[in-house]
Symmetry: C2
């Protein structure tokens, strides 16, 4: 079988020089219509596909942006990813994606690997990168966006919202509704979950009236099933006193809700449930679950836009962008 066609092969077929073919592919406007159509036909005819490696090497533009998320299975990052992919398409970029499984060390390795692709921008989740990772990123000189949470000392750009404030607000929501024995159900316990928990504790500490709190956490990864188990755990720990739970995400909240049915608890009469992330199911179960919504898709899109507009060279401090969040009150509280 003949080897893959290259620029010269196309040039020969079209009766032009290689550079002209190159221009048709990258700057069609700079080539006369006559030659352009001739070249385009030749390209299609022999099924020519440009060699990205050679192109990137010669032009110093890889057309790639690197993205690292903590988990492929978490729908939350999926939403962000969709935003990223939608924006990337406009800019004719490719995404190289890594899943660091919530591990800064794995993330460090991934950063090194992905940087080798000479990405034109880098999107990271969260703010707890290793020192060496930060060094590599800084040295690369490319624009960087840290997503999801807000940071005091971002590597470069930063867009997200305060999980601490959201934790405070949703806890206050429960307190305002009259609940006084609040449970916190937490899984995974990554930094954002910890911030939500900190918010929970803060709201309780600041509350003027007596109230109880029960914190049940695990480093296991989150799932609906786990939500049921954690509800059992918090009821055990509170000896059945707990009258409201703040679940660190909607998966847990759904599991907790399903478990209440098996336990014959009425929601929200016997126990209130609220979650985080506002998944579709939360709005449709009976009773619908109060949750915290945030513009994930838009965050992903905006991250790409930020990368594209960043000159890359300006080392000026860019203020974090707070996209905010919204407490969606539903029947479960």
């Amino acid at each position: 079988m003949n080897k893959k066609p290259n620029l010269k092969d196309v040039a020969k077929v079209a009766g032009v020089s290689a550079i002209t073919v190159s221009r048709v592919l990258s700057n069609p406007d700079k080539v006369s219509e006559k030659l352009r159509t001739k070249v385009e036909q030749a390209v299609h005819e022999i099924g020519y596909i440009r060699n990205h490696a050679a192109s990137a090497l010669a032009s110093r533009r890889s057309g790639v942006i690197a993205v690292i998320i903590p988990s492929l299975s978490n729908i939350v990052f999926n939403d962000v990813l969709q935003g990223i992919y939608s924006a990337v398409k406009q800019h004719h970029l490719q995404v190289v994606l890594g899943d660091c499984h919530y591990s800064p060390l794995e993330e460090e390795k991934l950063i090194a690997t992905l940087l080798s692709q000479s990405p034109e921008g880098f999107i990271l989740t969260g703010t707890d990168q290793t020192d060496y990772a930060r060094k590599l990123l800084q040295q690369s000189g490319i624009p960087i966006v840290q997503l999801m949470e807000l940071s005091d000392c971002p590597i470069d750009m930063n867009i997200g919202f305060s999980h601490f404030n959201a934790g405070v607000d949703i806890t206050n929501h429960l307190l305002q509704k009259g609940y006084r024995k609040l449970g916190f159900l937490g899984a995974r316990m990554d930094t954002r979950t910890q911030q939500r928990l900190a918010g929970f504790k803060k709201a309780i500490a600041d509350f003027k009236q007596p109230c109880q709190s029960y914190v049940v956490t695990t480093t296991q990864s989150s799932s609906i099933r786990l939500g049921g188990q954690l509800l059992q755990a918090v009821m055990a720990e509170s000896q059945g006193q707990c009258d409201a739970v703040f679940c660190c995400n909607d998966d847990l909240a759904l599991g907790a809700l399903f478990e209440t049915k098996r336990m014959n608890l009425k929601v929200p009469a016997d126990i209130a449930i609220c979650g985080f992330n506002d998944l579709e199911a939360s709005a449709l179960v009976e009773p619908a679950i109060t949750s915290v919504a945030s513009p994930r898709y838009e965050m992903g899109q905006q991250a790409v836009e930020l990368l594209m507009t960043a000159s890359g060279k300006d080392k000026t401090h860019k203020p974090p962008i707070d996209v905010g969040y919204r407490i969606v009150e539903r029947a479960s509280t």
Copy 2:
């Protein structure tokens, strides 16, 4: 700011030649330990990262595999992706991912784009690629895997299961349970959904006793909410006669189940519900939903293994690999 360090810079610092540094990175065994450690230190010290484009160009090995899925938001492909990423890690490969939004034309464009990365393998979903796409793929000479469904004339390798058979089986399951007024709820209507529907019709046509069928479909994309709407639609169309629904996926099934509560229908007494894909939630709702399970994660992994073991050159016909499926019977039927 100094430009990014390259091989020569490292070589200078380590006091060796560039090619020796290259060997330390790719074939550490071929370099004496003394030089190797010296080079490794130099690499770490100046934060050197190998230029992938140059490396790929010179070696004709990109270390990349291309993957196209029809939808980033569908959890089903997410599972497959996770399998792919887990396998890819073992082989030190990068994934370049595209989302074709269920469109063969978009897929064709993506294939061209992704082929420009000189991937060493290509994973596609489904079997309805355009002719030009097939030509490009064939011409590329790289191993290709088509995932999810079985094909009579795969481009190269093929791994999946028969959605038609699964549709037949689940429909027969409903018939055996005594239901005679069966509804089919379908969204998106991609090829796999169509095959499930074909199975549904076939089972009904082959059934020896009189029975009714009501097919309600939409090209809208699937969601939980839509499941409720389609249930309403099928009840309207059947004038309340429908006593069982086969939902083309679990999202619709969940939505249908939630809707039954609002309609005051008892499941499975008044109406049976079954889904497809066996999502976690299906097992945990009340009543739990009968569904069709398949080894998605493993399919993803196996696809990568197939690519890696494929010599790439042998044009022998490889028989499709049937990973099978399993009907998980639960309380909803």
